[in-house]
Symmetry: C2
């Protein structure tokens, strides 16, 4: 007997789970199938959350090293890093969040959650291979593919050896290595380089391009490069990896610069974080009209694939690959499928935080993107060195840039570097998303002394406002 559903959702991460729960809560019969061991996806098990657990320990360690500046005298001796305790804390948080997600899902009668693999047989039927038990077929009126993405392993000679790890494996290393080569200075590579450097690991970060964090405001990326060097990260730009060789308890990474000169870097492990690709394999997509390549599944403006009734959300449709972007798409898709008026999220109002040290915040368009989109823009800059909160917290450096439209003074983008700015980027996202003007922002009463005041203080710098030197 084939079980029938209104909607099949494939993938229980930030892309699949919200739409599954929302549709089921609205009485649609929904089957949510997750291939891994729990609900949460890359974000929970291999991405945002585990890296933030490490980040939290790294930042606390950095704070401890500065205790004396704040009148706190510790017993002498450098703190010992109990890597196993950090990994255990990570596992506990992961278990707790996965269990919580499952508990929430199970409160919804119309939602079935199954763990296992799914292969589409056609646009209305799929074979479900459960983690335990016999495979069986299911029927559905529509399906949503939310299978996410996975690390790309670059085709470099020697890649794939035991000392080569990806971001999926780094959080479960059995011990803290003494040295690490990180290949790729995107957000993940930057975050992990700084975290491990804070833990005292000798980190070499190799980046093929001429700057880190390609999509970030150039000036802010440069500022972070300088900080990384101060933190002891050996950052090497213009480094194209040519070969990796095992050597004793580690590996040598050989690379060349543009001039062709050969260099090498040694690490007990080599962490490859050179990119991610959509998870489109073994889904039976070839049995449908869905079109896709390694960048992702092709969808239209309502996230429908080339196969009518089949939708895709999150990393599997390509860039930008962020958990919050996937969730936003997911919820809007639920509204859409329920026949409610919706506006699908647009990259121009996306926001993100890179948990570098210090954090980088992004909301809306950079100067370059805004100009490319045809906006006439102005930019104001607020320097955290004069900020009350930043001074009090002992982190009095960093920069906030606000990009706004010349005529309307509407905020188009906010870009920031600074300790603690992660928390204020929600306001930046709201300002961008709701089309707030600089004048309105200037008049909002921001509590003092908090980092969020920086928005109002930046807005006061608009030349047509009352001038505050």
């Amino acid at each position: 007997m084939t079980k029938k559903y209104d909607v099949l959702v494939v993938g229980g991460g930030p892309g699949g789970t919200p739409v599954a729960m929302a549709l089921a809560a609205a009485q649609r019969r929904v089957l949510l199938v997750e291939r891994g061991a729990g609900l949460g996806g890359t974000c929970l098990f291999e991405g945002c959350i585990p890296s933030k657990i490490l980040y939290e320990s790294a930042q606390r360690l950095r704070a401890i090293r500065r205790a004396a500046e704040f009148g706190l005298c510790l017993s002498p001796g450098e703190p010992h890093i109990d890597w196993q305790a950090i990994v255990a804390r990570k596992d506990a948080v992961l278990r707790q969040r996965a269990q919580w997600a499952l508990d929430r899902a199970q409160t919804i009668p119309a939602l079935d959650v199954r763990f296992g693999a799914v292969a589409l047989l056609n646009q209305r039927r799929a074979l479900l291979k459960p983690a335990s038990g016999e495979p069986y077929e299911v029927e559905f009126a529509s399906a949503i593919i939310a299978t996410g993405s996975k690390s790309v392993r670059p085709a470099v000679l020697g890649s794939g050896l035991a000392r080569m790890i990806t971001s999926e494996q780094v959080f479960d290393l059995e011990y803290l290595p003494r040295s690490l080569v990180v290949v790729g200075a995107g957000p993940v590579g930057v975050e992990l380089s700084q975290i491990f450097a804070a833990f005292g690991v000798r980190v070499t970060l190799l980046e093929a391009g001429l700057s880190i964090l390609g999509q970030v405001d150039e000036e802010i990326a440069r500022m972070l490069e300088v900080r990384m060097l101060h933190q002891g990260v050996s950052l090497v730009l213009d480094a194209r990896v040519t070969r990796i060789c095992h050597a004793g308890g580690g590996a040598f990474v050989q690379y060349r610069d543009t001039a062709g000169a050969a260099h090498e870097a040694y690490g007990e492990y080599v962490l490859e974080v050179t990119g991610r690709e959509a998870c489109t394999e073994e889904l039976g997509l070839e049995n449908t009209a869905v079109r896709y390549d390694r960048h992702g599944i092709r969808v239209n403006h309502v996230l429908e694939t080339d196969e009518p009734g089949l939708y895709a959300v999150g990393d599997v449709v390509g860039q930008p690959m962020f958990a919050h972007w996937a969730s936003a798409q997911s919820l809007v898709l639920a509204h859409y499928l329920l026949g409610q008026p919706v506006r699908f999220p647009e990259p121009a109002v996306n926001a993100a935080v890179i948990f570098s040290i210090p954090e980088i915040g992004i909301a809306g368009l950079t100067e370059g993107e805004a100009r490319k989109a045809g906006h006439e823009i102005e930019v104001v800059r607020y320097d955290f060195s004069v900020d009350a909160r930043a001074q009090v917290a002992g982190h009095a450096d960093g920069l906030l840039k606000v990009v706004y439209e010349r005529g309307t003074h509407r905020v188009l983008g906010v870009h920031a570097l600074g300790e603690g700015i992660a928390s204020i980027m929600g306001e930046a996202a709201l300002a961008v998303g709701a089309g707030i003007t600089m004048e309105a922002l200037a008049l909002i009463i921001h509590p003092h002394p908090t980092l969020s005041e920086s928005f109002a203080l930046a807005a006061h710098l608009v030349p047509t406002s009352v001038f505050i030197p």
Copy 2:
């Protein structure tokens, strides 16, 4: 020869300085007179900033005590608190900020800054008594009184003795006392009680009322009361102080409860933080038509006193007494005096953070205030125990309440308790101030994992939204 100005500003704190600088930048000849030693007012010298410096050390100390939870093993032994180092750090930040304010002021040619006292002779003339040099008269077309507020010393028997201190003195104690009695559980009393308790001081907090923090959402205030008890603060409600007696190296505070029973508490110091009153003395207000009482100077909706051409801003006009409120008034007054269209700030869009442990955030109206103002309201509650960021940071408790209007779904108020929420209250203020709806808030892409996601997650709980259990 009498010097002539367009505008005399009396008081160089957050109320006086912005309007003085803005008017002078717009080519008005402005005289700014500050009675103290530098620009900054109560906020910088005796309020927000010094208490936040202590708060920073207290929070860092609390974090150090939890290091092992995050896999960081310190050498054994409780941290030693170097009180003199904390006071020295405070002094350095104060000097730096005061100097910076003065430097900024001195970049404006039309602005004269003088240190000394001012007494109005009439509505167009004043006598300036400089800190050094001979008194002289000045003439002005209009004046702005921004003299702030000072601690009220309650008329209790024994009050005024050497062991009795106010919030103006507590930041310069020569040593960290072993015990402290704090009288008054308003924001200042609560903040300082928790800070000193974190430093290991035995703190008794006496409050005459039946709850702490009268103006805060009742449920949130109660939650903080419980935390304070766990932190070792001996909180006593319904405690009316009757007498204070010196005893050896400290003082006994005698108090009675409603039933009339007598009790006493001992502290090396007694910190009185029972309220503040407007600084209206020795200003020569009696030589003008300005009307005032101890609650403050009476002003109309454009902050003009009963004497035409004489304005007043900030604490000296009474509640709410917040630095950011004073600055907001100050800047809007500048716009107004320059003939620009303005909207003076309204208490319904005020926002504030109480730096309790954990912080309390307030933006807009509480449930009670909203009902009193005639709104039909709904309230959603988001519990930080399920929040990703809060779990990662190891502070997974706390509450966010969003009050919104039933018909329009516009956000009317945000009230929160939680570690780190200070930084997200700017977004709350923006949502309230710009009249954002819950639906709009739900669709803003908040970076993950940050505390600011709590706004979107709370907004998803609106029953008419797609239901997320």
